[in-house]
Symmetry: C2
Subunit: 107 residues, 2 copies
Amino acid sequence: MVKQLPACPVELTIDLLGNKWKVLIIRDLMDGTKRFGELKKSMEGITQKVLTANLRDMEENCLLTRKVYAEVPPRVEYTLTDTGYSLRTVLDSMAEWGDSYKERVNA
Amino acid sequence: MVKQLPACPVELTIDLLGNKWKVLIIRDLMDGTKRFGELKKSMEGITQKVLTANLRDMEENCLLTRKVYAEVPPRVEYTLTDTGYSLRTVLDSMAEWGDSYKERVNA
DNA sequence: CCGTATCCCTTTCGATACTG
DNA sequence: CAGTATCGAAAGGGATACGG
């Protein structure tokens, strides 16, 4: 989690995006609301514990919302907030740079 | 360091950018070549060990170059490669998002 | 189904001391 | 000046088991 907001904007962003899991979660949710199990299945190699922890962080940072349905078996859905969606430009530039990087190293 | 390039572009980028220090180093070097001591001084709170480790990583990932001058006292200069410079768009979008985020949470 | 709790391992990091 | 070496603390993450 981010305890205290850093003054520097880029530092703030990297703190909130934090690790690869958060980035992948954001990108996944760009397609729309997903259940916990869907997220877990789509993210190769993540454990429940780590997925839960990251989702909690992001909820606290207002990047997504968590909705629990009072059903049996339980259903929990995660949805990006507007703030979360607004990360699209950042993710897009990151994806674009990643592609160009791969071209460079393969050349 | 990044052992093996991930297939996913955004994951690749977040792996190479990794932590807040690397982002801050890149941004610092956007202004031009800097010496080790200059970098250290401009980055509040970083230790020599951590700064060195991050610089080595980034050198290995071809984001910057390291030039050692055969002088006493020694002088070592770090310069972004073209690949490193090309991260500008990513950093810009991150800075922009960070600013808008601060407005949201203050509101 | 969607978690939490526990254990343990690995990595990371700060602090400090030392060197060419 | 620009590191490296060492140590010990802390954090992060995997595996597994259990719970509402």
